[in-house]
C-alpha cells in the first residue's frame, strides 16, 4: 500500500519536474517533453520483452507454470507500453519531421516489437490447454529472441537513419541538460516501478484464477 502511494508520488514529482522545472532541448522546442514518456515507454517495452523471454526459457527448463505466468503477464504489459511508445513516437515525428511514419530504423524496430508481441499473444489465445500453451509460446518466444537482434541492430546498418542520436546508441554518451536528465531518469525509474507493480498484480491474478479452477473441479 505504502509502496503504491510512493510510486504515484514519485511519478507525479518527476512529471512536475520535467514540465515545470527542466528546460527544453534547443532543437526540439516544446516537443522535448515527449521524451519523458516516449523513451521510458520504449525502455519498458524492451525490459518487458526480456523478462518475458527469460521466463519462457526458464519454463522450458523447469516446466513450472509460474514462469509461464510471468512470461504472459510481461508480454501483455509490454504490448501496452509498446503501443504507448509507438504512438508517442509517431506524434513526435509528425511534430518534428512533419510525417507520422518513415520506416526509420528506430520506428521499424519498435513496430517490429509490436508485431512480435501481437503474434505471441495471438498464439497464446489459440491454445486452450495450459501446458501446451505455455510450452509452445515459450518456444516461439525463444525463437523471437534469436531474431530480435537482427532487426534491432543489424538492419539499421543497411538503411540510413533520421532518428536523433538516442540514449541507446553505441557510444553511450548521454548529452542532456542535467535538469532534463534528472526528470528523465526519474521517469525511467517510475515507469519501471509501474511495470513491476502491475506485473505482480497480473501474476497473482492468474494464480488465483488457476487455483479456483482446480478447486471447482475437485
Amino acid at each position: 500500500m505504502i509502496a503504491k502511494v510512493l510510486l504515484f508520488l514519485w511519478i507525479a514529482a518527476a512529471l512536475a519536474a520535467g514540465f515545470l522545472w527542466a528546460p527544453l532541448v534547443p532543437g526540439l522546442g516544446a516537443t522535448t517533453r515527449v521524451l519523458y514518456f516516449h523513451i521510458p515507454a520504449a525502455w519498458i517495452t524492451v525490459v518487458a520483452l526480456g523478462w518475458s523471454m527469460v521466463h519462457s526459457v526458464l519454463y522450458l527448463r523447469s516446466r513450472r507454470l509460474e514462469h509461464d505466468d510471468h512470461a504472459a503477464a510481461a508480454a501483455e504489459l509490454g504490448l501496452l507500453f509498446c503501443v504507448v511508445a509507438t504512438v508517442s513516437g509517431a506524434m513526435w515525428a509528425k511534430a518534428v519531421w512533419h510525417s507520422y511514419w518513415n520506416w526509420d530504423p528506430r520506428e521499424t524496430s519498435i513496430f517490429f516489437l509490436l508485431l512480435i508481441y501481437a503474434a505471441y499473444l495471438a498464439l497464446r489465445s489459440s491454445i486452450e490447454n495450459d501446458e501446451r500453451r505455455a510450452r509452445l509460446s515459450a518456444v516461439y518466444s525463444a525463437i523471437a529472441f534469436v531474431t530480435v537482434p537482427f532487426l534491432i541492430f543489424v538492419v539499421p546498418r543497411i538503411y540510413f537513419s533520421l532518428h536523433p542520436d538516442t540514449i541507446i546508441n553505441p557510444s553511450g554518451k548521454i548529452e542532456m541538460d542535467p535538469r532534463i536528465r534528472l526528470g528523465f531518469f526519474a521517469m525511467l525509474i517510475g515507469f519501471t516501478g509501474l511495470f513491476a507493480w502491475i506485473l505482480r498484480l497480473k501474476v497473482r491474478l492468474v494464480r488465483i484464477e488457476r487455483r479456483t479452477a482446480e478447486r471447482a473441479t475437485a
Partner: protein, 224 residues
C-alpha cells in the same frame, strides 16, 4: 538392431524421402503454393504493369510474391501430420530434431522449386534489365533457406493450435521481417550494381542463429 551411418542423418534422409513421396501422391501443398504465387504475380503485374527500369521496386515485389507463395504452403508440412494424426507415428521413429530437419529440407526444396517457377515468370512479366546472376541467385538461395528454416519451426508450433494455417502467416511474419529487409535490399542492390555483402552477412547470420536455436527447441515442441 543393426544400424548404419549417423542415426540423425539416416532419419533425416528417410523423413525427407517420405515427405516427397507423400507430397507427390497428393500434390496438395505444391498446387496450393504454385497457384498462390501465380495468382499474386498476376495481380501484381496487372496492377503495376511493366516496371522497366524501376529496379528499386522490382526487388520488393518479387519477394512479396515469393513470401506469399511460401506462407501459403510452408505450414503444410506439419499441419498435414496433425490432421492425419501421424505425429505419434513420426515421433516414435525419429528424434524431434531429425523430424524438424527432415521437414526443413523438404520445405527448402519446396521454396527452391517455387522460386524456379516464379522468378522467370516475374522477370518476363515485369520487363526490366536482366539481373546480375551470381548475387541474384545467391540471394534467392540464402533467402530461401532463411525462409524455410524459420517457417518450418513456426509451422511446427502453429500446427498444434486451433488457428493453424490462418495463424501461421501472422505469427511467422515478424520473424521473417529481417529476412525480407535483407533480400529486398540486396535484390535492389544487385540491379543497381552495388555490393550485397551486408545483406548476405545478415542472411547467413540469421539462418545460423535460427538453425542453432532449432536444434535446442525441437525437443520441446511435442509433449503429448
Amino acid at each position: 538392431m543393426p544400424t548404419r551411418g549417423s542415426s540423425f542423418t539416416v532419419a533425416v534422409w528417410a523423413i525427407l524421402r517420405k515427405e516427397w513421396r507423400t507430397e507427390w501422391r497428393t500434390r496438395h501443398g505444391l498446387n496450393a503454393s504454385l497457384l498462390f504465387a501465380l495468382t499474386t504475380l498476376t495481380a501484381v503485374s496487372f496492377a503495376v504493369g511493366r516496371l522497366g527500369d524501376r529496379t528499386d521496386l522490382m526487388g520488393g515485389l518479387l519477394w512479396i510474391v515469393l513470401l506469399f507463395g511460401s506462407l501459403a504452403s510452408l505450414s503444410h508440412a506439419f499441419v498435414r501430420e496433425v490432421e492425419g494424426r501421424t505425429l505419434t507415428f513420426l515421433r516414435l521413429v525419429a528424434t524431434p530434431a531429425a523430424i524438424g530437419f527432415g521437414k526443413l529440407l523438404f520445405n527448402l526444396a519446396f521454396v527452391l522449386l517455387l522460386e524456379l517457377v516464379t522468378v522467370p515468370m516475374f522477370l518476363v512479366l515485369m520487363g526490366g534489365p536482366p539481373p546480375d546472376w551470381p548475387p541474384f541467385l545467391g540471394l534467392l538461395a540464402l533467402g530461401g533457406l532463411a525462409l524455410a528454416s524459420t517457417s518450418t519451426l513456426v509451422g511446427a508450433i502453429v500446427s498444434q493450435t486451433r488457428g493453424r494455417a490462418a495463424l501461421f502467416a501472422g505469427v511467422s511474419l515478424p520473424l521473417l521481417l529481417p529476412v525480407m529487409a535483407a533480400t529486398v535490399s540486396g535484390t535492389r542492390a544487385q540491379w543497381q550494381h552495388g555490393s550485397i555483402r551486408s545483406e548476405v552477412e545478415l542472411l547467413a547470420g540469421f539462418t545460423a542463429a535460427v538453425l542453432g536455436a532449432s536444434v535446442l527447441l525441437y525437443d520441446h515442441l511435442w509433449n503429448d
